[in-house]
Subunit: 297 residues, 2 copies
Amino acid sequence: MAGSVGLDRLTTPFGSAKNVLGGSASYAGLAASLFARPIIVSIIGRDFPKHALEQLTKRADLSGVKRQGKIFRWQGRYEFDLSSAITEKTDLGSLAGFRPELPESAKQAGFLFLANLDPTAQLQTLDRHIKLRGSRPFVMLDTMNFWIERAKPALTKLISRVDLLALNEGEARQFCSEANLITAGRKLLAAGPGHVIVKKGEHGALLFSNEGVFLSPGYPLETVQDPTGAGDSFDGSLIGFAAKKNDVTTKTLRQAMTVASAVASFTTESIGPDRLLSLNQREIAQRTAVLKQMVRL
Amino acid sequence: MAGSVGLDRLTTPFGSAKNVLGGSASYAGLAASLFARPIIVSIIGRDFPKHALEQLTKRADLSGVKRQGKIFRWQGRYEFDLSSAITEKTDLGSLAGFRPELPESAKQAGFLFLANLDPTAQLQTLDRHIKLRGSRPFVMLDTMNFWIERAKPALTKLISRVDLLALNEGEARQFCSEANLITAGRKLLAAGPGHVIVKKGEHGALLFSNEGVFLSPGYPLETVQDPTGAGDSFDGSLIGFAAKKNDVTTKTLRQAMTVASAVASFTTESIGPDRLLSLNQREIAQRTAVLKQMVRL
């Protein structure tokens, strides 16, 4: 998977933390590692702190992570209702102008996740992975409002080339200039991917395919501390689960979404990735069972 | 059931309509009548137009509807995203100071729905129904932000005496002064009712009970014209379905919610109650099947 790895400074109504491991590939990588060992393609600053990097080293192949220039830093804040992050400061560091280089180990990888990143770098990753493998992997893509506003043509091209697009409710509406979420989901499906997932936070996630619309519930959580990385961990555990099963049918993706909702719910229970780091299989299975029971008629 | 019957003037981005049948008991009664014949307890103005009243006469027992004073009129508007109604004008008419009188036919009714109305009138309906029957019926209650702001003590007392409370997301958060919806649902459950339903519009509805949390999906609709009465039709079809089955177990309420989501989705497809009036069992069964399929793993 390709994405960002950096340091976050987080402020929530329940506390704050600084210099914690952050970035789309960090959360997605940690979550994916619960199911399969991910190869991370990214760039980190030369002075990236050892304690933060060690959290990733144990769980992922970092041979595609370049050490160069300055650290990517994000500073964000949440209000009492935790509904959306307010970006206070972004320092791209060496992430600006990042050109991905894929390690030899990626040759064996049949699943590619393009986590949130500049669409130009995402496209390069895709092309280089195809070249390295000599064939197309299964490709999943996420993005954010920032790129929809600034790089829509590149993003549109990219979307036409992926198998699974996952974005959140607001981004789906924004990309399609469409208030109705079902219409937006169907428009995105028509843009190329065989599957589109629209993440709705506490309201769960919708899966659009030619087999209709599927709803995966959100885990009924009372202890949300910090939503940072919830969407990325959803993505990571979803692609990790599919890779482990080596299957991308709608049926497997429905199951993967349920497991991914469980994993994402844990991520929100600590400030930063702490809870995701301490998570075990028994805990995931327990919440997955609750989610299945939640929709049983 | 007790609630309001009046005339609405509606403006949406897709068109407008005036002097259409409206009010909580109208929508709930029409929806309930798809499953069982409801007895409506309400008050309408002396000059209530025949064409509007006839829509109810065919479907409900109106022996508890008084003709007195002026018509209750509501004028509302929706913006492009259809997310919430903007009240432009309310003329309570004879609804102000309404004191419900229960007809003899209500003696046989084992299910009482207190649709949105002044909590004082709701309490009186409950007491009179118990007196008339000589025993407690199964009691379902809905309300709105207006009464939470102006009559919280009466509402709190009422909530402690009902079996099923149904309100929408914003109202649940407002009543409990609580941003987390799961916490709000659990607080409402602790306030007395054996079951609490939180309606979330397009995101479906949650059922809280001592058996945990259940999620009923919202029907994936692209053709929303006017959300007026969607919540009331959800309530009405839910209580109608339970009355028809003569059962109020959690299992039946889960099924009832799925059917109610289907009925409510039709209500939004026309301006006013037209689509609800033309609805048939085959159409309900079709959407109920889609909703079941939507969450199947």
